[in-house]
Subunit: 277 residues, 2 copies
C-alpha cells in the first residue's frame, strides 16, 4: 500500500512515527490570523479538524479526550459553579462542562474565532451546548484573560490547548500557572492537557514541577488512550489549590458519558510504573 | 512530508487508518514456512519485527503488551507453578512469566521456529531468559498441543497470538477455549490478547461470550496503551476456571516491571463506559 494524497498524515517528527487517516473529501481549508484550519471527511474517523497540519479533533475519538480533561477536574470540586476554559475552540470541552448541573457560569476563552466558527459548521455535535445560557464564549487571549481576572474568580480552570509550541507555549509556563492559582478560589482546581506519557515523559514531569512551584500542593496525572494523538496515549494533569485531590472526596454526579465513569477516576490516576515518582 | 519507502507503514485497512515508523535499515527479510518475517532498525522505536507486514514487536513499547498479558493473569493465581504460552515467539512473554519465582515450569509452544530464531538474533533482550532451566520451548501447533495436553496440566495458559486471521484464527474459537478449560487446574487462569477496545469492540464481546460458553464463569478485560498496535489501545482478556478473579485475591510478588504494578491491576480492569455490560 502507499500513503498517497488520499490520506491525511501527521508526522510526529521527533518520534520517527506518523499516523494517517484515509480521506474522502476536504470540506474546508482556511487561513485564520493564527493558523491554517483544515477539515476533512474521513473514511472511518468521522470528520477531522487539523490546525497547522496537526490533528485537533476527530468525530470518532474526541469523546475520550474531552471527557478526561473535564470530568476528573470537575468531579474533584465539591461545588464547581464558575468555570473557565482556556482554548477549547472546538467546544467539546464546553459541552462536557455543561453536563454538570452544579455549573452556573462558564467562560470559554479561545484565541481563534475561526476555529469555533468552523466547529459550529462542521462539528455541530460538539457545539450543541454553545447557546446554553450559562455559557459565554470570548475570542481573546487566554493568558491575558487569566492575568486580568479577579482573584478567586473561578472554581475550576481547564486548559484545553494545542501542543506547547507557537501561541500555546505560554500555557505551559510557570507564570501562567501562578496566574491561574491566583484566579482560583481556595478550593479551586486546575486541569490541563499534558501530552503523551510515552513521548513526552519529561514534559509531564516539568509541568508537574512547575505547578508545584506555582503553589499547587497536590497534582495528579490522569492518562487515557487517544488514538489520533501522538503515540495514541494522552494525559491530563489535575492540580488542587488547597492540596486535596482524592477519590474519597469525589463528587459523583450523574453524567452522560462514553469513556469516563467515577470508577475510572481512580483508575486513570494510577500511573504506569515508569512514571511513578 | 511524504511517507515514502524510508518508512514502514501498517495500514489498518478496515479502519481507514495507518501507522508509520521511520526506518534506518532493514536487518532481516525471510520467508518462513508460515509467514514473511522482516526486522528493521527504526529511528525512534528501536528494532521492529513484522509478520506478513503487521507489527509484532518494537523495542520501545513491547514492554507494556508483554507485562499486561502476563502479570494480571499470573497474579490472579495463588500458586502459578505450571504455565503454558501459546505463540509468543518473540519470547517477551516467556521472559515476563519467568520473573515469577512461583513458576516451576513453562512450556512455550510457538508454531514458527524462524520467529524465535530471529528474536534471539535481533531482540536478545527479550530472549534473555530462554535458557532458564524452567523454560521449555517447543516449535509445534499450539491448538494441537492444548488438545493433546493432559487434563489439569497447567495453572495458567497465556495466548500470545497474532490477529484472528490465518493460523491464529483457531485461537479465537470456542473449541480452543474448551480445550484450555480442560487443560487447566481447578483454579486455573487463561489470558489472551483480545485486540483493540476502540476498533474491535464486537470481537472483545464475542471472545467474552465464547469464554463464558466454554465454562469460564468469570472474565475480566484489562486494557492498556500500545502505541504501535491498531488504534494505540489494546487489551488482554483474563478468565478464571473456578469463577474467582478479584483484586482482593491478588498475589503481590515483587516484580521488576516498567508498566505493570499491582495498583494498575485493578485500574486496568475498569472498562471505559462504552464497554460496560
Amino acid at each position: 500500500m502507499a500513503i498517497d494524497d488520499t490520506w491525511y498524515t501527521e508526522e510526529w517528527a521527533d518520534q520517527g512515527s506518523a499516523i494517517s487517516l484515509k480521506i474522502k473529501t476536504k470540506l474546508c481549508d482556511l487561513q485564520s490570523p493564527y493558523q491554517r484550519i483544515e477539515i476533512f471527511e474521513t473514511e472511518s474517523f468521522g470528520r477531522l479538524m487539523t490546525l497547522d497540519g496537526l490533528v485537533m479533533v476527530t468525530g470518532r475519538d474526541n469523546f475520550i479526550y474531552h471527557e478526561m480533561l473535564t470530568h476528573p477536574a470537575l468531579c474533584s470540586h465539591m461545588q464547581p459553579e464558575k468555570v473557565l476554559i482556556i482554548g477549547g475552540g472546538d467546544c467539546g470541552t464546553l459541552k462536557e462542562v455543561l453536563k454538570h448541573e452544579a455549573v452556573k457560569h462558564v467562560d470559554m476563552v479561545e484565541l481563534d474565532a475561526d476555529v469555533t466558527h468552523a466547529a459550529e459548521e462542521f462539528f455541530p455535535e460538539l457545539c450543541s451546548s454553545n447557546h446554553d445560557p450559562r455559557a459565554a464564549i470570548h475570542f481573546e487571549d487566554g493568558i491575558k484573560w487569566v492575568k486580568d481576572a479577579d482573584e478567586q474568580r473561578y472554581d475550576v480552570i481547564l486548559v484545553d490547548s494545542t501542543d506547547p509550541v507557537g501561541p500555546a507555549a505560554g500555557l505551559f509556563e510557570i507564570e501562567f500557572y501562578r496566574q491561574c492559582f491566583r484566579a482560583l478560589t481556595d478550593n479551586g482546581i486546575l486541569a490541563l492537557q499534558s501530552e503523551s506519557p510515552l513521548f513526552h515523559t519529561s514534559l509531564i514531569q516539568a509541568v508537574d514541577d512547575s505547578l508545584g512551584q506555582a503553589g499547587f500542593a497536590k497534582r495528579k496525572l490522569f492518562h487515557f488512550p487517544q488514538c489520533t494523538y501522538p503515540s495514541g496515549w494522552w494525559s491530563a494533569t489535575v492540580a488542587a489549590k488547597n492540596g486535596t485531590l482524592s477519590v474519597d472526596l469525589l463528587r459523583r454526579p450523574t453524567l452522560d458519558t462514553r469513556y469516563y465513569s467515577h470508577e475510572l477516576y481512580a483508575a486513570a490516576a494510577i500511573p504506569p510504573r515508569f512514571l511513578q515518582s
